[in-house]
Amino acid sequence: MDNPVIQVQGLDKSYGKVQALADLSLTVERGEVHGFLGPNGAGKTTAIRILLGLLRGDSGTATVLGADPWDQAVALHRRLAYVPGEVELWPNLSGGQAIDVLGKLRGGVDRARVEHVAKRFDLDLTKKGRTYSKGNRQKVALVAALAADVELLILDEPTAGLDPLMEAVFQSMIHEARDEGRTVLLSSHILAQVEVLADRVSIIRQGHIVETGTLTDLQQLARTSITAHLASPADDVAAMEGVHEFEQDEVRVHFEVETDHLDAVLKRLATLHVRSLVSRPPTLEQLLLRHYSDADSNASAS
């Protein structure tokens, strides 16, 4: 019953000489919102297209809802819905017609639900495909997917063209989907979105998953940033284990500290007559930046 909804093991895929995926492994559990985070060109879309049975991996295994996505694509597609990052619509068909066509292919359309979701996204269903803006094309795909009665939602950077108001609607819709017991794979490079929505996160870089875990797990890997006004000099804090980016400006200090060493550093600060203290929780951004800058330094070294 509680087999993972998506299970990928050692997946490789290359296009000619370009290696898109290298030994990619990914597990998405039932009922979770799984953030799939990585920079442009990291292999997110290639991985998703393999999960959808549109591409065939070179080696390794992929299982979606217990089935092989390549061999059993059609049966699988009835149980999932997908929103691509770039939505192309038929220029001559209205958004409503496109949603109907996609819904009927899946086995049926709940018109009431389509209209309900469209209303929440403030989408005009009668406009022709070519007259929609990028954001509205994306809404068409989102309405089609969110109105479908499916177990799994695969969303590939689904809100790239949406304004903040619609982003909020999207977030509440994803929360509802999770409450209904659906599983969501949410690929994104917008960290704030993943932080708000995801239960677990996998970070992909150059076709390989470099980190995976709950938000808390990953925050462990990141650093808390601290700004404090102290009555006494705090030179020795700079030398403490786990402290980075230490800056001192008379009585004001600013530094970042690894989560594991937070306790010790705070105890030391407490002895230095703290007048004020601001602490910012670790963000995935920092974590991600660390991975990117690793890549950058590797690149510049070579």
Partner: protein
């Protein structure tokens, strides 16, 4: 803060007011020519090689006066006149005249289509893809993109004219002199420019590159039909056809330059019209405002086959109407054909014995073949459509919504089978109806039977496209080579004196040329089986390969 740099407006925008709407033209022109650095030479070489090959092929026939006389009689037959053009040098028929009557119109059509495709490529396609927006946001005048595209196409036409002139002039044939060759080349330039202007006008109307090309080619079709009907009936209708103006130069006979003025003046007027229209619309928009559509899909649209047909609705209607009109044109000249036969009854008997068929039957069979070649161009469009839906990212959501690949493939195959049948029958119906009206009902039966023979051959053309989509999707467009090959061998084969086996390499060469030949069933069966086999191979390969998308 005295060091602050103040942004002062430059005077550039004010002092060159007349050229500001053309600002950036030079850069854009060079860019367009760079993008077309392969395309333009390929067009120019293909067209001049075709002309050269035709000249070389017919040269041999002009050795003795007797055969020249016989050629002239053949070339004066309404069938030939309807298909290519009038004999404008009665009694003084020469090799050069035959080039002008028999070959010129084809290469004029080729430059017309080249000009339309290049204009659309550099204007509407750029707008539809959004690239134009990027360009227009730079220092680029309102008319710069269009003007640069026009100049690029003019350059292409100049290249065609120059290579054609060189190819013919240097051949050293008696009646094909340099001054005539220059006029022959110039006719290409003027015709190309005229249709570039036509394209520039239709580009303003519709937002879709495909639709614009359809409209432009439609204008070429109308021009062809007008000169076809006008040349046979000799009623002056050819003088309203832009293709007729090129032929009116009577090249290699009286070498008249003045009909080209019609083309150049027409080109100028249309270009100005296009410039005026372009200021009434926004970048990316058409003159026709898009209307809302229903918010729900009809039940036909939600069926994969209905959906595939809907995607091709405009194409099917356009091609059917076009072939129907062409059929009507040819059917309406049948009375002239009859009077021609009466006029040359003795010679007619010679022809009849040679082919075992009457001239009338040969004419009907020839026209049916002509219609089939035109229909073969529509036969490749379904596979191409399926491929572009895939590449442009619209097929993907359908497959991910549970549409099996084989159903998706099958829906487009079924649409191709239906489309080719409808288009071919529309041509046969037009021809048969006109023939029945002006001659007798027997023509109708003949055209229908002949059409039935060609339909499986058209299926094979479609099937080659579908096989390519499966096996070598990147080369789907190569199916056009088969259409071009069919055209050259079947249509020009007799003129170019090509050996018979060359016609056997195209599916269109296989059906019985009814009613000139005995009706046989077996080519139908073999062609249908071949189509099924090719489609099957394509289906298996399509299921096994990665789905592709450029977005």
């Amino acid at each position: 803060m005295t060091a602050t740099r103040r942004i002062t407006p430059t005077k550039r925008s004010g002092d060159k007011r007349s050229s500001s709407v053309f600002a950036g033209t030079r850069t854009l022109l060079l860019f367009a020519l760079r993008r077309d650095r392969i395309r333009i030479p390929v067009w120019a070489l293909s067209i001049s090689l075709m002309s050269m090959a035709a000249l070389a092929a017919i040269d041999d026939s002009f050795d003795d006066p007797e055969s020249v006389a016989q050629i002239e009689v053949t070339m004066s037959s309404p069938a030939i006149v309807a298909i290519t053009g009038p004999n404008y040098a009665p009694g003084e028929y020469t090799l050069g005249v035959m080039m002008g009557q028999r070959m010129l119109v084809w290469t004029l059509i080729a430059v017309a289509i080249m000009s339309i495709m290049l204009i659309v490529r550099h204007t509407r396609t750029e707008e539809a893809t959004g690239r134009a927006e990027l360009v227009r946001s730079a220092v680029v005048g309102r008319h710069a993109s269009s003007f640069a595209a026009y100049m690029a196409v003019a350059t292409a036409n100049l290249a065609v004219a120059a290579t054609v002139t060189l190819a013919l002039g240097s051949a050293g044939a008696d009646t094909v002199d340099w001054s005539g060759s220059l006029l022959y080349g110039a006719a290409h330039f003027a015709t190309g420019l005229f249709f570039a202007s036509v394209a520039l006008v239709v580009v303003q109307i519709s937002e879709f590159p495909r639709g614009v090309i359809g409209m432009g080619v439609g204008v070429v079709g109308v021009a062809f039909a007008l000169r076809s009907a006008g040349d046979v009936a000799e009623n002056g209708l050819s003088w309203v056809s832009p293709l007729g103006w090129g032929q009116a130069t009577h090249v290699f006979h009286t070498d008249r330059w003045w009909p080209l003025a019609f083309l150049l003046i027409g080109a100028l007027v249309l270009a100005l019209l296009a410039a005026m229209l372009s200021t009434r619309r926004g970048v990316g928009a058409g003159l026709r405002a898009p209307r809302p559509s229903p918010a729900t899909a009809s039940s036909a649209l939600t069926h994969p086959f209905g959906f595939a047909m809907r995607m091709q609705r405009g194409m099917v209607v356009g091609w059917s109407a076009g072939l129907f009109a062409l059929g009507l044109t040819y059917g309406s000249v049948l009375p002239e054909m009859e009077s021609f036969i009466e006029q040359f009854e003795e010679l007619g008997a010679v022809f009849a014995e040679a082919g075992g068929a009457t001239i009338m039957d040969s004419f009907v069979a020839t026209i049916m073949m002509v219609l089939a070649v035109f229909a073969s161009a529509s036969a490749v469009l379904s596979a191409q459509r399926m491929r572009s839906e895939e590449v442009e990212g619209r097929a993907e959501p359908m497959l991910v919504a549970g549409l099996p690949r084989r159903t998706y493939y099958g829906a487009y195959v079924a649409s191709a089978v239906l489309t080719t049948t409808v288009v071919m029958l529309a041509g046969a119906l037009g021809f048969g109806l006109a023939g029945a009206a002006v001659v007798d009902g027997e023509v109708m039966r003949q055209t229908m039977v002949a059409a039935a023979g060609f339909i499986p051959a058209l299926w094979v053309v479609s099937a080659v496209g579908f096989a390519l989509v499966g096996i070598a999707p990147k080369f789907t467009a190569w199916v056009w080579a088969l259409v071009a090959y069919s055209f050259v061998t079947v249509y020009l084969g007799p003129l170019l004196d090509l050996p018979e086996w060359t016609a056997n390499l195209t599916p269109l060469g296989h059906p019985a040329q009814y009613p000139a030949e005995e009706w046989t069933w077996w080519p139908l069966l073999i062609l249908t089986a071949l189509a099924v086999l090719l489609i099957g191979i394509g289906a298996v390969a399509f299921r096994r390969r990665d789905f592709q998308s450029t977005i």
